[in-house]
């Protein structure tokens, strides 16, 4: 292995690491706020990538049907609750977000000539289609169980993962897709060529991390989420709605997931079930941070990315084995660092 290969592998590792870092941050966020270990994170990655690919290919992405269906289901649930309790105050907003919005998005996809739109508009349209699925899935699957144990929420998360993978297969088929790169530029940096997409991925990830930081430090909603993460009861007593916090964090997770998918789609072929493994690598990184520390999770993500790219060079068949076995020393370290038996919540 010479320097050039080393640099090439490092570039690869950093690119993937940046994606895992985004996913790990989202996982830490959603776990802190809702206590959900969000296994289906990877499905948003796949949905984001496949939606953009469909749009660029001039097909109607299956996400449109998913969005219309999920919105209709939420509406039914909310109407049933409203009929039972007689509380009708929020119905306008429910109908707006779950019926009118998906219908408008579907109409936009149907009428616009999406293929001729600039890339930024295509990306925006893909996000418009995927991101609302976050709060909708929270409403349908997790909100009724907000007080259940972490374990039950984890099983529900796995069940949602199952359902979403199946739906992705149904709507997008078994073939993989790749999207056009954001940039064809190549820069020669000494011995290696850095391609434009890599810069896009790393740059966008960094920008997103900075934006998340600002969101949590500077905005009232960000602070509300942090408050909920630290103490749910306390946050509620201060008038922060835990339902709002749950929906908001699920929206952020969907946004980050879909964006990650859109960023990697030009680099690797995405299938309906590819997201799962990508999401799980984000998990390994999040566990490095104990599902609590953002900087440690980001560092873990970089480690996972590098480990993956170098092991694909030395022992490509065992790439996944090596990456997922990384969790063992991490768990050992965490286990030794924790002295006492944790009390169950």
């Amino acid at each position: 292995m010479n320097l050039q290969i080393t640099l090439l592998l490092a570039q690869d590792g950093i690119t993937n690491g940046a994606i895992y870092a985004l996913l790990a941050l989202a996982l830490v966020l959603v776990f802190a706020v809702t206590r959900v270990i969000f296994i289906p994170q990877g499905e948003y990655v796949a949905l984001g990538a496949l939606t953009l690919a469909s749009l660029q290919a001039g097909r109607t992405p299956g996400t449109v049907w998913l969005l219309l269906g999920a919105g209709a289901l939420v509406t039914v649930v909310e109407l049933a609750i409203a009929a039972r309790t007689g509380k009708r105050r929020r119905l306008a907003s429910v109908l707006g977000w779950n019926l009118a919005y998906p219908a408008a998005a579907a109409l936009a996809v149907a009428t616009l000539d999406v293929r001729s739109l600039p890339l930024a508009a295509q990306v925006a349209l893909a996000l418009i289609l995927v991101v609302p699925l976050g709060p909708m899935i929270y409403r349908l699957a997790f909100q009724p169980l907000a007080h259940a144990s972490v374990l039950v929420l984890l099983i529900v998360a796995v069940a949602v993962h199952f359902a979403l993978v199946g739906l992705a297969l149904l709507f997008f088929g078994a073939e993989g897709s790749r999207t056009q790169p954001f940039s064809d530029a190549r820069f020669d940096l000494g011995a290696i060529a850095v391609n434009g997409q890599t810069l896009w991925v790393v740059g966008a990830s960094l920008a997103l991390i900075v934006m998340l930081y600002l969101f949590f430090e500077r905005t009232i909603y960000g602070k509300a989420l942090r408050a909920t993460a630290i103490n749910r009861t306390g946050a509620r007593l201060m008038g922060i709605s835990t339902v709002m916090a749950g929906k908001l964090s699920f929206m952020l997770v969907a946004l980050i997931g879909a964006l990650s998918g859109i960023l990697v789609a030009p680099l690797t072929t995405i299938y309906y079930d590819t997201g799962f493994l990508i999401g799980l690598k984000g998990f390994v990184a999040a566990i490095v941070g104990g599902l609590a520390s953002y900087p440690l999770a980001a560092a873990g993500a970089l480690l996972v990315g590098l480990l993956e790219s170098f092991s694909s060079f030395w022992a490509s068949a065992f790439k996944e084995v090596i990456v997922f076995t990384l969790i063992i020393p991490v768990l050992l370290w965490r286990s030794l660092a924790t002295r006492r038996v944790d009390e169950d919540e």
């Binding site: 972490v150 984890l154 099983i155 359902a163 979403l164 566990i287 969790i327 768990l331 038996v341």
Partner: protein, 600 residues
């Protein structure tokens, strides 16, 4: 009458292979193989409150170990004696599984509950890729030509022949699990759901109980894999991937992770449903693929929202005579020889000596320089306004939450660095301010948990019912303590059905079942009516006369002053007075603390 459904089920099962077509016999075999894995998860998830998504990988270990051993041409020297026998393969698979499960458990069980499932997801994926990439295991094509089984000269080959060994194994495993749950070790595993603090205070080694549940579940899975490999006679990595691992968990949850029959119900439902959906859905959608996962996923979400205990309890509601036990004859009160008792310390000797005990939480000092002594045969009351640090001190003494500085000696031994479990073993037992009983368990079983350290038989003895003599004595001891505290009439009721005051009394009985020489009682009289308080005072007086030392936190001053020999008063984490009840009542600092300066 109650056994009739079971008898009918067994007869139908025995007739199955003689009347059903081959396809259905095979399906039944699969149901049993899956149920065996799900059964392990019932123990792990339903009972112990832990979970694993990696059971399919354990199935794979059991299958691959034996498949490799019985087909390989190059048997390593240390295994050459085995002649590739599947029976040696079974042992190899079990040993491998136990080692791997033990390692995973050792890594994750000390951490909070969600690390085990996450660890098993990662491990499930790793092992799947490992199976698929190791040449000596046949890579993704797998291993073919696995021999059938031979037992006592008979060859077991094909679905029909395998029907009996598979189902007998499952039924034996179900019996083992039921026996285990109804034993001392089983109570320890069931206590895990009530939180580690209580279980450890009763002397349960919670890490060991978790490990026991995890190992049993893993070994069941490995046996299932071994049967699968020799029935099918070829294997590849596919059935051992993470998806199957998740489906196993679904089976346990769908059936009802609280009953051994739930595993069978869940495995049956999911297997048949999958079979049916795999034909139906591709026809509807006009494409091929595993669309059944959509239905399974949605079904699981709905089930966990609507019926988190699964379908078995719902089913039981429709079976007359099986539900709840109402109308069933009251079981007999357990009888048995008394257990050996510990040597009681001499009346008046020092039991517990605190010197300069301090507990800090960061900058907050919850207890500061607390020193006092409790002697054998006296009731020492610890009183003080709310937030004075009394319960914190209790947690420090009992080892639930170690102190920061100072020294605590119990029976002359330094205990401030010992675990709660070790302190319990020395003869200290406690109750909790917020009642910590297992509401679904009977009063008898809850109290028997207190006698945990007075038994010694392990998991295997429990599963095989070899510990009945000891179990009888433990239950008899629990029953005696329940009678002693006056709750004999409620012995077989679920603890959660009692009034809160009575639940506190159950906690006292549970503490007494440990045969303690020092009792720590945290607000035992709260929620009791006048007569009940009188009865409690009488009981504590009697314990005192048996040379038991009692340290008591209580707010009911009539109760305290009438009962206590000496009183320590705390305020803001410090001792402000100590002495006889009548002295303390006149103490200026105490009046100040309680009445806020009226005395001044």
């Amino acid at each position: 009458m109650r056994r009739a459904p079971l008898a009918i089920f067994l007869v139908l099962l025995a007739l199955g292979p003689f009347v059903l077509p081959e396809f259905h016999v095979t399906l039944l075999n699969y149901i049993a193989l899956y149920a065996l894995v799900a059964l392990g998860l019932v123990l792990l998830t339903g009972v112990a409150g832990l979970t694993s998504f990696g059971q399919a990988a354990f199935v794979g270990l059991g299958a691959y170990a034996s498949a490799w051993l019985s087909t390989t041409a190059a048997l390593p020297g240390w295994l050459s004696w085995s002649g590739g026998s599947p029976w040696v393969g079974l042992v190899l698979g079990l040993v491998l599984t136990a080692v791997v499960a033990w390692m995973l458990g050792a890594l994750t069980l000390r951490l909070s509950g969600h690390y085990l499932p996450l660890g098993t997801i990662a491990w499930g994926i790793s092992l799947y890729f490992l199976f698929g990439n190791l040449d000596f295991l046949g890579g993704h094509t797998g291993i073919t030509g696995i021999p059938s089984l031979h037992l006592a000269g008979f060859e077991i080959r094909g679905s029909r022949a395998f029907h009996f060994p598979i189902w007998l194994t499952l039924l034996a495993a179900m019996a083992f699990t039921r026996n285990l749950l109804d034993s001392r070790e089983g109570r320890a595993i069931r206590a895990l759901k009530g939180g580690a603090t209580m279980a450890e205070a009763m002397g349960v080694d919670t890490a060991r109980a978790k490990m026991a549940a995890f190992l049993v579940a893993a070994l069941f899975a490995a046996v299932s894999g071994w049967l699968y490999a020799h029935m099918q006679r070829f294997i590849n990595p596919n059935p051992f991937g993470l998806n199957l691992g998740i489906e196993y968990l679904f089976m346990a949850v769908v059936g009802g992770a609280v009953s051994v029959w739930g595993a069978l119900l869940g495995a049956g439902l999911i297997t048949i449903l999958k079979q049916w959906l795999q034909d139906l859905l591709p026809a509807i959608f006009g494409a091929s693929g595993n669309f059944e996962v959509i239905v399974f996923g949605i079904m699981m979400v709905l089930l966990l929202q609507r019926a988190p205990d699964g379908l078995w309890p719902l089913l039981m509601r429709w079976v007359p005579g099986a539900g709840g036990g109402r109308g069933r004859a009251r079981p007999a009160v357990p009888q048995g020889e008394p257990l050996p008792r510990r040597q009681a310390p001499a009346h008046g000797s020092d039991l517990l000596v605190l010197s300069k005990v301090t507990k800090r939480y960061g900058g907050l000092v919850a207890n500061h320089d607390m020193s006092f002594t409790v002697r054998a045969g006296e009731v020492m009351a610890l009183i003080g306004p709310n937030g004075a640090g009394k319960s914190t001190l209790f947690d420090g003494i009992s080892g639930a939450n170690p102190i920061s500085e100072g020294e605590i000696r119990f029976l002359g031994r330094r205990i401030d660095r010992l675990d709660a479990r070790e302190i319990a073993r020395l003869g200290m037992s406690r109750t909790f301010q917020h009642v910590r009983l297992l509401p679904a368990m009977s009063v008898l079983e809850n109290v028997a948990l207190g006698a945990h350290l007075r038994g010694s038989r392990g998991v295997i003895a429990a599963g095989l019912r070899l510990e009945r003599a000891e179990e009888r004595r433990l239950l008899a001891e629990a029953a005696r303590q329940i009678e002693r505290v006056g709750l004999g009439a409620s012995m077989f009721e679920p603890a959660g059905s009692l009034a809160l005051g009575q639940q506190r009394i159950v906690e006292i009985a549970r503490a007494l079942a440990a045969d303690p020489c020092l009792l720590l009682l945290d607000e035992p009289a709260a929620g009791l009516r006048y007569r009940e308080k009188q009865a409690l005072a009488e009981l504590l007086g009697k314990l005192r006369s048996e040379s038991i030392g009692i340290l008591l936190v209580e707010h009911d001053m009539d109760f305290v002053m009438g009962l206590a020999d000496r009183v320590v008063v705390m305020e803001f984490g410090e001792k402000i007075a100590e002495g006889l009840p009548e002295e303390v009542q006149k103490d200026a600092a105490v009046l100040e603390a309680y009445l806020g300066g009226v005395a001044a």
